[in-house]
Each structure stands twice: as C-alpha cells, then as structure tokens.
C-alpha cells in the first residue's frame, strides 16, 4: 500500500483555559489516501474542527498545546514546520473552506480580486493573469456569467454563490488536500446539494484528497469514501462509508444515523444517541416501542375544532428609494396566503430562505402587521385587535425562535427569563409561586432546577433551546409557532428537541406551526405540510401525500435535494 497523503498519528491537543487544561483532541489517528475523501463526523465540541485547524497549523497559540502526535503530509511532519514554511503549504498544498460564507469573504474587495490574490501570493502571477484565472475558476465552480460576477462585491451574491467563491479560492492553487469545515451547514438544502455535487466533481477532476467535517452523517454519504466518527475528543469509529451506513459498530454512530428523520418513515419518536448508549459510553438495549412506524392520522378528514384560519393574508415591506428616501414600491413577503389549522395538529411550512415563511409566522402572531387579509383565531378575526386585548391574545399564542444564542437576554438569569411572562400577565400570586411554576416547567423540558439561577451563556445550544421552549410554554399557550427552532442545532440535539416538542404537544394539546427549510424534519413532525415559494403557499397537503406524490415541480426539486443518508461508495 502506498503512503497516504496525510497521516495523523496519535494527535493530542490541549487548551489552556482559565479553569485549567481541557483536552480537545485525544490520541487521534487517521489517514487520508491521495484522491480520497474522508468524512469526519461529530457533534459540536467533539474535537473535529480542532483537528482540522491543527492540520492547517491555525490553532491559537499559546492557548493550544500539542503534547504528542505527528501530522505527516507527504511524509513530512507539519507540526515541525516553522510559521513561514506553513504559510507556503497553506492555500497552496492544503486549502480550507469554512462554514460561514457570509463572513469569510472580505466585504470591501471584489470577489474576483479575492480569488486572484491567492494566485498572486502562491503562483507569482501578474495581476492580469491572476484575474483571468480567477474568472476561469469562477466558471469551473458554476457561477453564471463569471466575467461580470468577478466585478461584484460579496454582499451582491447569495449564500450559495459566496460558498462557490470560497471553493474557487480554495482550489485556485490546485491543492492536494482540501479541508471543508461544515461547508454546507449554513445553506438551504437545495444549495447544499449543489455545493456537495460541485465539491465531488472538483475532487474527481483535480484528483484532490478531501477532509470533510460535519455534524450530519447524512450529508457525507454522497461523497465520502471513509468516515471517522469523533465523540468527546476521541475517535470512536473508523470505517469505510458503506460499512458505516449499513452496519456501524459503535452505538454512537448508530445513534447519529438514527437521529436524522427520514422521509417515508414516521416513527413515534426519533431515536437519539441516548437510546444507544448510556452516559459512560456503554451500549444499551433499544426500547423498540419508540421506533414503531405509524401512519399519521388523516388530520383533514377528522372533524375537530379549527383553531386558526388564515385568509388571503398579505404582508409587505416598503422599498425605499429616491432622493428623500420615499417609499417607491412594496415588496410582498407574504402574498395571498390562506390555510386552516385544526386544534392539536401541526402545520409544517417549508421553503428556501427568503420565501416568506418566517414573515408569515410572525404575521400570524401579529409581531408584524399584515397589509391585508384576515387571521381567525377561534373564529374571531384578530387582525384588528390592539392594546389590552392583543396582550391577552399573546398568552395563547407563542413563538420559539431559531437562534438559541440571541433569543435569550444575556443579562437575565434563567429564572428571571422564565418568570417574566408570568410577571407581565400577572399570573401567580408572588415571586415564590412564580418560581415554583418555572421550576415545574423547567423539569418538563429537561433542565435541572439547580441551573435556574445561572445565565444563558453558561448553557449549550441545545439547552438554550430548551429554555426558549420553556419560556414559550410558561403561559400555557394553545398555539405555538416554531420558527426554524431546530435548525441551528446538531442533528443529535435536534432529535432530542423534536421529541421534546412532540411530548409537550401530547401533554398540553398544543397546536404548532412548524417553520423549517428542512423537509425531513417537517415530514417527521407535521401532520400537514405547506410548501412556500416567493411568498405563496404553492402546495399544501397531508405530510405523507406531499412526500409520496408531490404535484409541483418546485416541491419535487426540494425533495430530491435531501441527503439520502446512505453511501453511494461501491461495495468493496
């Protein structure tokens, strides 16, 4: 067997923090053969990104220490390289794509110049040569009309296009190894598919090796040859992709595979990693009642109370322009939307970013004023309700936001956050009673009572989302809008939160509008699904019917973009 392009041997990385030394990567070894793709999978904090930064020599010194290990690239130990030597390797031999295309491009330079810059640094090209090569690269990564687009600035491009520019920069020097750190996590499914296809195509074309880092096993099925699974700083499983997807050894890997909702199968609850192994990492027996597949009840056929009815709803935003910043036009974010929602059911709204689904959710809650149309809640039109009456309505209708980091006030304790709704609506007789109510609900969403006097920054993303859910439920609402409430979470945490939402729905008889760009999530949680595009609901039906027989071309495209969660690598 030939020597691999990159060989990581017994790598250990420690971080010096105020509370002592934390081990981020523990004795990790893996190889990346030339021309192959390795997927590194794990949840946030598992050490996967730290590993990639170590390979790039980008760890923050002196906080990070590498007490042992070797990173052999073409037989040379990168850890022994000086900073000057590393600079020659970086961008030239090893290139990297980051997660957030919005922030990894410099906003004040033209994208063409940014691609050309790498070439001028590493290839000593003239300005003109580099510019021409940049246009050629933009063409290769599938940016239409590259000559004109090279002259544009990053803010004029969409997220997917920016990520393509990042890829163009990364491959500009034809690197031997490309490190992609969650390159598609911030993108819509349809764009994600395009980017994955592009990466696969380029990898074949340039015969690169690729190290693909992600929290979502489903994503790498299509492109990885081998998969390395990391959990709590250690590698728990290394195998070829097919074996991982068909017969994973480690319970953690099986948990990761199971926690992603799949199209066509509707278990009562999603299995999570906790169903496969206990706290100590030992395998446990699966409780099979949880995975019973059931056919969702025909929500539309069964008579039950209509809780919410939306009729011809329009929400528009003014477009400002002209000399005095006058309103020159209106942008219709929600354009003539109508639907009915029955009590205790879930309506899923799916669509790509910018389709108006978030605006629709907020308009229903009257957080944004509609331009026209009606919203009937319990048969009463609430579009004309103001003041005290609207405040009372807020008790019944709640929202859970997407970003668990910005949706909690950083200067308030969890107890203050949870009791605030009670204070506003004068529920409960005193501080102690309100606190008791907060404690009760905190336990229901899986928080520990002892944590209540802590502040939000001391919690992980998943825990913060539980706090947001608890806050929304403090007033015992009947109707909750979940706005991308699980999109910012790792798949394993996402499954836990989805299960929690279902448990709470059963217990409190909640009615949800569940907004998401992820069709598989919506399919799992929703009874009915509405597909949104350009402000309109273009197709609406029972969840299972939408997935089996999509009527609209757009729905079919969304469906085909979902990662299948299986490997297409050939059987060895």
């Amino acid at each position: 067997m030939t020597t691999p392009l990159l060989s990581v041997k017994n790598l250990t990385v420690d971080f010096q923090t105020a509370d002592g030394i934390t081990r981020a990567v523990n004795n990790v070894s893996f190889d990346i053969p030339a021309g192959k793709t390795i997927g590194i999978v794990g949840e946030s904090g598992s050490g996967k990104s730290v590993t990639s930064l170590a390979v790039m020599g980008l760890l923050q010194r002196p906080a990070a220490k590498i007490p042992q290990g070797e990173i052999l690239f073409n037989g040379q130990d990168l850890l022994k390289f000086s900073e000057a030597q590393m600079r020659e390797v970086r961008g030239d031999q090893i290139a990297m794509i980051f997660q957030e295309p919005m922030t990894s491009l410099n906003p004040v330079f033209k994208v063409g110049d940014q691609i050309a810059e790498t070439l001028r640094v590493h290839r000593n090209m003239s300005k003109k040569e580099a510019w021409e090569k940049a246009i050629d690269l933009m063409n290769r990564v599938g940016i239409p009309n590259p000559k004109a687009r090279a002259e544009t600035y990053p803010h004029e491009m969409s997220g997917g296009q920016k990520q393509r520019v990042m890829i163009a920069m990364a491959i500009s020097c034809e690197p031997k190894l490309l490190i992609a750190d969650e390159p598609t996590t911030a993108l819509d499914v349809t764009i994600q598919k395009q980017v994955l296809d592009l990466l696969f195509k380029l990898q074949q074309e340039y015969h690169m090796s690729m190290m693909f880092i992600t929290h979502d096993l489903g994503v790498i099925g299509d492109i990885a040859d081998d998969v390395v699974v990391m959990y709590r700083s250690n590698i728990v499983e290394k195998n070829n992709a097919r074996t991982i997807f068909t017969g994973a050894n480690h319970p953690y890997t099986r948990g990761l595979l199971a926690c992603r909702p799949k199209l066509g199968a509707n278990p009562k609850r999603l299995l999570t990693v906790a169903d496969f192994m206990n706290e100590k990492g030992e395998e446990i027996k699966i409780d099979t009642t949880k995975i019973q597949v059931f056919e969702k009840e025909a929500a539309l056929d069964k008579p039950s109370d209509i809780l919410l009815e939306v009729k011809n709803l329009v929400t528009q935003f003014p477009i400002k322009g002209g000399f005095f910043n006058r309103t020159v036009d209106q942008f219709r974010a929600v354009n003539d939307v109508s639907f009915k929602l029955r009590k205790g059911k879930t309506l899923g709204l799916v669509g790509e970013s910018g389709c108006g689904k978030t605006t629709l959710g907020r308009t229903i809650l009257r957080l944004i004023e509609p331009a026209s149309g009606q919203i009937f809640y319990h048969g009463k039109d609430i579009t004309g309700v103001y003041g005290e009456e609207l405040r009372l309505l807020r008790r019944k209708m709640q929202i859970i936001f997407q970003d668990p980091y910005s949706s909690l006030n950083p200067r308030m304790t969890i107890a203050e956050i949870l009791t605030e709704p009670l204070v506003i609506h004068k529920v409960g007789s005193g501080k102690q009673e309100r606190l008791d109510m907060a404690k009760e609900l905190a336990e229901k969403v899986g928080l520990k009572v002892a944590q209540l006097n802590r502040y939000p920054h001391e919690f992980s993303g998943g825990q913060r989302q539980r706090i947001s859910i608890a806050r929304a439920l403090m007033l015992r609402p009947e109707f909750v809008v979940c706005d991308e409430s699980v999109s910012a979470l790792d798949v394993s945490i996402q499954a836990q939160v989805l299960n929690l939402l279902l448990d709470l729905q059963d217990e409190f008889g909640l009615t949800y509008v569940f907004i998401s760009h992820d069709l598989s999530v919506v399919n799992f949680i929703a009874d009915e699904v509405g597909v949104m595009n350009a402000g309109k609901i273009i197709e609406m039906d029972k969840a299972s019917r939408i997935y089996k027989n999509p009527k609209e071309e757009y729905t079919r495209m969304l469906l085909s973009a979902i990662p299948k969660g299986e490997s297409k690598a050939p059987v060895l």
Binding site: R391, R394, S407, N409, I424, H425, Y455, H457
Partner: protein, 283 residues
C-alpha cells in the same frame, strides 16, 4: 452554586488587569482627596500664608509656595476637589440626557430619531469651546456655569453610541421574544435593552470624565471658569507670568495632578472596554 453573570465575569477580568487596578487606585485616591476637601477636613485653610513668597519646593512645602506665600500643595488639593466635582457633575447631567435621548432615538426610530439626530448634529456642528464659552457667558462666570456648560455638551457622544447600540439590540430575538410574551415598549427598552448597553455608559463616562476635567482647566485658564478658588486651570494661568521668573512649581504641581488623573481615567477606560466587551460569551 456557581452564578456567573456577565457583570461578574467582566469584573473578574478587570481585577486581573494590573494597569486597570493601579489606575483605579489612583482614581479612588483622587476621589477621597476631593471628598475630604469638600467636607472641609483637608486644605480648608488653603488661603493661609504659610511662608515667604515664591519659595521653591522643599521638605516643608512639597510644591513650594505661591506669590502670596500660600502652599501650592494645598491649592492642588483644593483644585482636585474642583476638578472631580466637574467630572461628577458633568456625568450626572450628561448621562441621563444622553442615555434617554439615545435610547428613544434608537428604539422608536422614525420622527423621534430624526429629532434627536437633528439635535445632536446641531450640537456637534458648533465648535465645543465656542459653545462652552457662550454658555458660561449667558450663565455668568463661576463653577456652576462650568457644570452646566460641560453637561450640556458632553451628552452628544454618549447619545450617539447608545442610539447605535439600541438599534442593534432591538432587532435581536430576545427583544422580539419579550414582545411575543406580551411585553410593552417600556419593558422591552428598560428591562431588556438598556441593561445590555449599560457597559457603554460606564466606558464612556470614564473617558468623558477626563475630558471634563481638561475642559474645566481650559475654561479656567481662559478666565471664564472658576472664580476666587484655586483650580488647576487658574494655577496654570498664574504660572504663565511666573515661569519667566523661574517659578515653575505652580505649573508643575497643577500639571502633574492633572496628568496623573487623566492618564488613570484613560487607562481605566481602555481596561473597562476590554473587560466589558459586549461580545457575548458562547457566540
């Protein structure tokens, strides 16, 4: 039970910063001196003749004596009281105005914002010293006019900073969440947004404080500030006649006192900015 508010975290970072701690000690000493002097416990008899005219510094008279044989050291102490009182008074006047106007402008936007923006662009388009002079001219000379003049001009920066920060925070989801649970404007603004922008007030005050002290010195030097009391400004003004005769200690005393406190406030302001940095943890 560990309870870590962002304030506590910031304070933890601050006390580890040696420069900040030394600056803080200097500021505390100045404040104590000013307080004791204001209560008449020290330097109450600054006007008393303690020796011959224009004695150079010695072990008996640390900063020497002035033309009337008064102790320069006592005058510096007395001047400290004036300087610190100007700083405090300016802060007391400018913080409420700046925070209130900045907050409502940033939060409500629209015509409220237009009015406030118009007001502070107008204020900042007038050269500061001209404005100060005209205000003291209207109110008459004296320390009270200096308070008002400085208070009326130094809210502008704070207001602008608060406005921008409030605009940023009002779009945050936690503020929208407060709206979704039925919270009104007052709750959103005062309970949620303001605590998240208070650090700006603290940082800005520590930097404005020394600007106020310097402005008082300039005004007094120009003869439109403090009257009949020793202040660092009047001392420097006196010194311009003395210096040619080789009497440098009055100038040195006032300048040294001002230099130390201004430096301390500057360093403290920088350290506060570092430790109170609003970049939220976990982000």
């Amino acid at each position: 039970m560990k309870e870590n508010s962002l304030w506590k975290d910031s304070f933890g970072r601050l006390i580890k910063d040696k420069t900040a701690m030394i600056s803080l000690i200097v500021v505390v000493i100045y404040t104590l001196v000013a307080l004791l002097s204001a209560m008449g416990l020290i330097a109450a008899d600054w006007a008393k003749e303690v020796g011959a005219s224009n004695l150079p510094p010695s072990s008996e008279h640390w900063f020497g004596t002035d033309i009337f044989g008064r102790s320069v050291f006592m005058k510096v102490v007395r001047g400290t009281q004036i300087a610190m009182s100007v700083g405090v008074a300016t802060a007391l006047i400018s913080i409420p105005i700046g925070v209130f106007l900045g907050a409502i402008a940033g939060y409500f936007g629209g015509w409220v914002d237009d009015c406030v923006t118009w007001l502070y662009t107008t204020f900042s388009s007038i050269p500061n010293i001209m404005l100060l002079i005209s205000i003291t001219m209207i109110l008459g000379k004296g320390i009270f006019a200096v308070y008002i003049a400085l208070g009326a001009t130094s809210w502008v920066t704070l207001s602008r900073l608060i406005r921008g920060e409030v605009m940023k925070h009002k779009e945050r989801e936690y503020v929208q969440a407060a709206g979704a649970i039925g919270g009104g404007h007052m709750r959103k603004l005062f309970r949620h947004i303001l605590p998240n922008v208070t650090h700006i007030v603290i940082i800005n005050t520590s930097l404005q404080f020394q600007i106020a002290i310097k402005s008082e010195v300039i005004l007094s030097y120009l003869g439109i500030g403090v009257q009949g009391e020793p202040s660092w400004g009047t001392m420097i003004d006196d010194a311009k006649l003395e210096i040619s005769r080789g009497v440098w200690w009055q100038l040195a005393g006032a300048t040294l006192a001002m230099f130390l406190v201004v430096l301390a406030f500057n360093l403290l302001g920088d350290a506060l900015r570092d430790s109170l940095d609003p970049k939220l943890k976990g982000k």
